[in-house]
Amino acid sequence: MSDNERRATVERYSSGERTNHWLIALGFVLAALSGLALFHPALFWLSNLFGGGPWTRILHPFVGLFMLLVFLPLAASVWGDNRMQAADWQWLRQLPDVVNNREEHLPEVGRYNAGQKLLFFAIAACLLGLLLSGLVIWRAYFSLYFSIGVIRLASVVHAVCAFVLICAILLHIYAAIWVKGSLHAMLRGTVTPGWAWKHHRAWFRQITHAAHPRTRSD
């Protein structure tokens, strides 16, 4: 590989961050599929993926806890980069430009854009809601400590949070397909300088002013 080509990648996600992300993704897919099995009769067949109804009921809360657990290190590391700033609100006001790929009209974006930031906080809020409500409706261990009214409320909260989370993740998945290069960034860790320049220019400036982008040999 020539020197030039080697320089042509910028590291966006370290191997640790990638591992972390895909562990959360694994937890989400398993929790969502097992949860949807209990959400609507039309999806009860999904319980077959987990070894039947009782196994789905047994596994789902543990899978949920796993997802939350692996989300914590990611949340800790990206929390700061996801704080909303003035430019983010401007970015959101220009949502038509965003969805129509007219990025040149948008304010410069840092490590994460406003959509990613809102998604992050939506996920964090939903996971917190799912944890608290999930403990209440976890019949095997915790429901006995709560009144029937609290259990009923928690059942609704759990369903609503799960619904919002699933919709948010569907958007997240599509965004990764839509913005070409994002999936590679999360799979192999790198983006091209052009990618960083186009989608996260403020971040691009930040890293290139501090140093040259790290070269990678893969």
């Binding site: 370290s14 099995a37 209990l38 959400f39 609507h40 009769p41 039309a42 999806l43 009860f44 319980s47 039947g52 109804g53 009782p54 789905t56 009921r57 969805v99 790929n101 990025e103 409706i137 019949r139 095997a140 429901s143 029937i148 009214g149 259990i151 009923r152 059942s155 609704v156 369903a159 619904f163 699933i166 919709c167 569907l170 958007l171 998945i173 599509y174 397909i177 839509w178 913005v179 070409k180 290069g181 091209t192 300088p193 052009g194 990618w195 960083a196 320049w197 186009k198 989608h199 971040w203 691009f204 400036r205 930040q206 890293i207 290139t208 002013h209 501090a210 140093a211 040259h212 790290r214």
Partner: protein, 317 residues
């Protein structure tokens, strides 16, 4: 549990019609519990244990006559005793046989996520089919009477079956057969209402002005009904719900919100697909790479250590 039936009017977590060609042409059934005739002998509890081969753990005496202390996976009915001091200052010993009310609009069935774990027969009996039960406890969440219990032995939900197996072959429930005072009677719901009306009239003539039948409309009526001396205050009878109905939270959780949410999730996924079709991917073109290269070349090649506040080169900001 019962034999395979062709007389199922409702089936849990099922969106198509259950097998139900057999209708209850002779009317639905009902158990009438006359609290004014009950002496609290618990013969009904024993009959229930015997017929259903249930033996609950022997508990501890909590200082009251309730024995066992609560319903469980192995105790599907029990007497609840209340010492009530009436306004005249007299003690009334109110005894209520507790157990499944077999609601016409069953909250357990509405909440159940497992197809066929809860069914409602055309005769009105609400029955659990434990081989389909997944043990989630949603039936407990849905029940307005706090009746179903998850067995600690097998993690399945259990409750009174109204002896659906006996009724299916023309017998009366075991508890009815055992009652020595006639406090428990069984028949068509219409007959039971008629019988109750006679009892209420008799009670009123004996000074119980508020005597009445408990057949709460909030759950569409029940197939287990009570004759109460104080029908205006059902809560006197160990907290019997004065106006039971499926909680609005359960309605929200299990009602129209579900298909709408499912559709919204499908719509979200479809929105992505059609965005792809109409707008397409956001790609990097050669000019972007060129601009980035230009910016890189123009960037000051300073050592991080010389720039206060800058991150070391091997640490990504």
């Amino acid at each position: 549990m019962a034999l395979q039936s062709l007389d199922i009017v409702r089936r849990s977590a099922t969106t198509t019609a259950p097998p139900g060609v057999r209708e209850a042409y002779t009317g639905t059934v009902a158990k009438l519990i006359d609290t004014t005739k009950c002496i609290g002998c618990k013969a009904c509890q024993v009959a229930c244990m015997e017929w259903n081969d249930l033996r609950d753990e022997i508990g501890t005496n909590a200082g009251v006559y309730d024995n066992p202390g609560d319903l469980s996976g192995e105790s599907w009915t029990l007497m609840r005793f209340t010492e009530y001091e009436n306004p005249k200052g007299d003690l009334e010993w109110l005894i209520r046989k507790d157990g499944c009310m077999h609601c016409a609009d069953p909250g357990c069935l509405k909440a159940c996520p497992a197809p066929g774990a809860i069914v409602q027969y055309s005769n009105g009996i609400v029955d659990f089919h434990e081989e389909n039960c997944i043990g989630c406890g949603y039936c407990i969440t849905g029940c307005p009477f706090d009746i179903p219990r998850i067995s600690k032995r097998d993690n399945k939900a259990y409750k009174c079956t109204l002896c659906s197996d006996r009724v299916a072959v023309g017998l009366e429930p075991a508890c009815i057969k055992a009652c020595p005072t006639g406090a428990l009677v069984f028949g068509t719901k219409e007959d039971m209402q008629q019988h109750a009306a006679e009892r209420v009239e008799d009670l009123k003539s004996r000074g119980f002005d508020q005597a009445g039948l408990y057949d709460p409309a909030g759950v569409g009526g029940t197939h287990v009904m009570y004759v109460l001396h104080h029908a205006d205050q059902p809560q006197l009878y160990a907290g019997l719900a004065p106006d039971p109905h499926i909680s609005s939270l359960v309605g929200l959780w299990k009602g129209a919100g579900k298909p709408i949410a499912l559709a919204a999730m499908a719509f979200t996924a479809l929105a992505g697909f059609f965005h792809f079709v109409r707008v397409g991917r956001n790609q990097i073109d050669e000019p972007d790479e060129a601009a980035a290269r230009q910016a890189l070349d123009a960037a000051p090649q300073r050592n991080a250590a010389q720039r206060p506040g800058a991150q070391p080169p091997d640490k990504r900001p």
